[in-house]
Symmetry: C2
């Protein structure tokens, strides 16, 4: 009784109960003006009486629209992606689209399988954050099967819609803030060389230093996993240098938190003995102690924008490619202070 799956009621049965044809029932439910009001009412009553549930899947076979969008990202547990997902989901829900979520765990094979699954599910569009090793050719190919929005900015090689954040500008602002405070030895912490986003930020880091006549020191660039531990261990490495840095610009907030923990373990405090800047502005950034100066990237807005772009692409398949760079801005909090030497003299 309780778990007995109720036998499904079909439109045919509704039609019979209302004394009309299946076609009429279908038209009535879609508010087609060719159906008279009394008839429509009878159909609606039959729907109610029988407990009919519309079968979107059956319909989509004919209409060729699934009202489903796929989202492929690395993981949801990371707060940045969670916000992004949330933004995309609510934007899509507002337009009666559903979100099918899949996570690659940064694994190329798994990604291939998931992309294939999405195509087989016949999603109307795909929002895709490809893992680093993904080839341009495979994405080019994918575009032929399904409207695509990439969660990567500046992918010039590919004529695909994409949306990403302004890594260059954000990085420049962060470094200029540190330079203005008097820092000259500034570390770059976190991420791996294979990550396109990191490459862009690193390039911008070098550019900005150069513009301010500060030499680039490779010893100050520490690659590490985008985790707390990554930041924690990086700071130990940095403090052992003959000329340690006085500040660190981190690939992500989570790295920055790790750096702050590492500093504390070394008897130093961020915002007093050492300046730390993150990237993302996850909710925890403002709550941390000391609160984290960081480049705010509005992940939720990113997800919403991606959803809007995929809608646009679906309704206008031949619209010109749009590459959106979401503005980022520096949020100055308590983790940044002038370098010690400056203040102590």
């Amino acid at each position: 009784m309780t778990n007995a799956r109720r036998k499904k009621v079909t439109l045919q049965q509704v039609a019979e109960a209302a004394g009309v044809s299946k076609a009429t029932a279908s038209l009535a439910l879609s508010n087609n003006p060719r159906i008279s009001e009394p008839t429509r009412q009878r159909v609606l009553e039959a729907v109610e009486a029988l407990g009919y549930v519309y079968n979107q899947r059956a319909a989509s076979l004919r209409t060729q629209r699934s009202y489903t969008i796929g989202l492929i990202i690395k993981d949801v547990s990371n707060p940045f992606n969670a916000e992004l997902t949330s933004g995309a989901e609510s934007q899509l829900a507002d337009h009666d689209y559903s979100l099918v979520l899949a996570t690659t765990d940064d694994d190329l094979d798994k990604q291939s399988r998931l992309v294939q699954t999405m195509l087989e599910r016949d999603v109307d569009g795909l929002i895709f954050s490809p893992v680093a090793q993904t080839t341009t050719a495979s994405m080019q190919d994918l575009m032929q099967y399904c409207p695509l929005v990439l969660l990567i900015p500046y992918y010039q090689k590919l004529a695909a819609d994409c949306v990403g954040m302004d890594d260059e500008n954000g990085t420049a602002r962060a470094l200029e803030h540190l330079i203005q405070l008097g820092h000259r030895r500034i570390a770059f912490v976190g991420g791996f060389a294979a990550q396109a986003t990191r490459s862009r930020r690193l390039a911008s880091y070098r550019d900005t230093l150069q513009r301010h006549n500060i030499g680039f020191d490779p010893a100050l660039c520490i690659a590490s996993p985008v985790t707390l531990r990554g930041g924690y261990e990086a700071v130990h490495q940095l403090l052992r240098l003959p000329r340690p840095p006085t500040a660190a610009y981190c690939y992500s907030d989570v790295n920055a938190f790790g750096v702050m923990l590492g500093l504390r373990a070394a008897g130093l405090e961020a915002g007093k003995d050492f300046a730390v800047i993150g990237f993302d502005d996850v909710p925890e950034a403002s709550l941390w102690h000391p609160s984290l100066t960081t480049v705010s990237a509005d992940p939720r807005g990113l997800g919403e924008k991606a959803a809007q772009l995929i809608h646009r692409r679906i309704s206008m398949p031949d619209a010109p490619v749009r590459r959106i760079i979401m503005p980022s801005h520096l949020v100055i909090r308590d983790s940044t202070a002038p370098p010690l030497r400056e203040r102590s003299n």
Copy 2:
């Protein structure tokens, strides 16, 4: 060219290219032994040559299986739910199921719409964390349409599978820890009376106090939103009492973080002047300063378990109802210390 949607290749076309019937092509692709190896190869070659993509949706119309599970929760941006989602998604992906995600924002109307959408999408099952005002009757009704797993423990009124965490035990452990440290005036902070989970924890809070001959003081129970601000404001209210508490047991980690901020604003420090315990053990709990003593609830495991339960229900519709309580345990960190008076004498 670039965005031109490739015209879809159907099984019929594959069959023609391979010189066989549609039925044969279908059987060949499902590795049916009735199809000879040479024929199967020809079909596979045709698939490759034409770039055929299997249409799961069309198939499901016939097979009555969508290989899709719906997940309805309040929001994904909250780290607890993000972990839960992640656990469910990877568990489902391992069994070739896809996850359709929908968030209610704690809005009953939106929830109704989303449930309806899920039914129309014909999901094979639904993992559902209902908002507080959801009626038992509506869930009872829902069960007749679709296999259901509730993300709520102890829902005795309903013969539904469910999985939740052990609120009673976790609460008892937390309070016993505080009592053992010498605390006698212990506040209960966060959540609203309408929340079933909160009611359970509150009941367990009272029981445990009683078992240790400590009187219950309603002034020490502060209802508040499950946010930082909620905890922050609660602590102000508590400190103004004639006999303020020396410890707080919080509904969630995020409330506990708010309490710690509120204490700091009042010149007190958690773990030194006041003891604080949270619930959930979100990743930030161990990173906070001081690190948070909290009841660990393994949200990822919860999501995985829910996915397993829904699979079980799908394959065995008449299996007995299973209510799983995920064990919770107290993680003792730095935010709990003996009460000040005790230490200072």
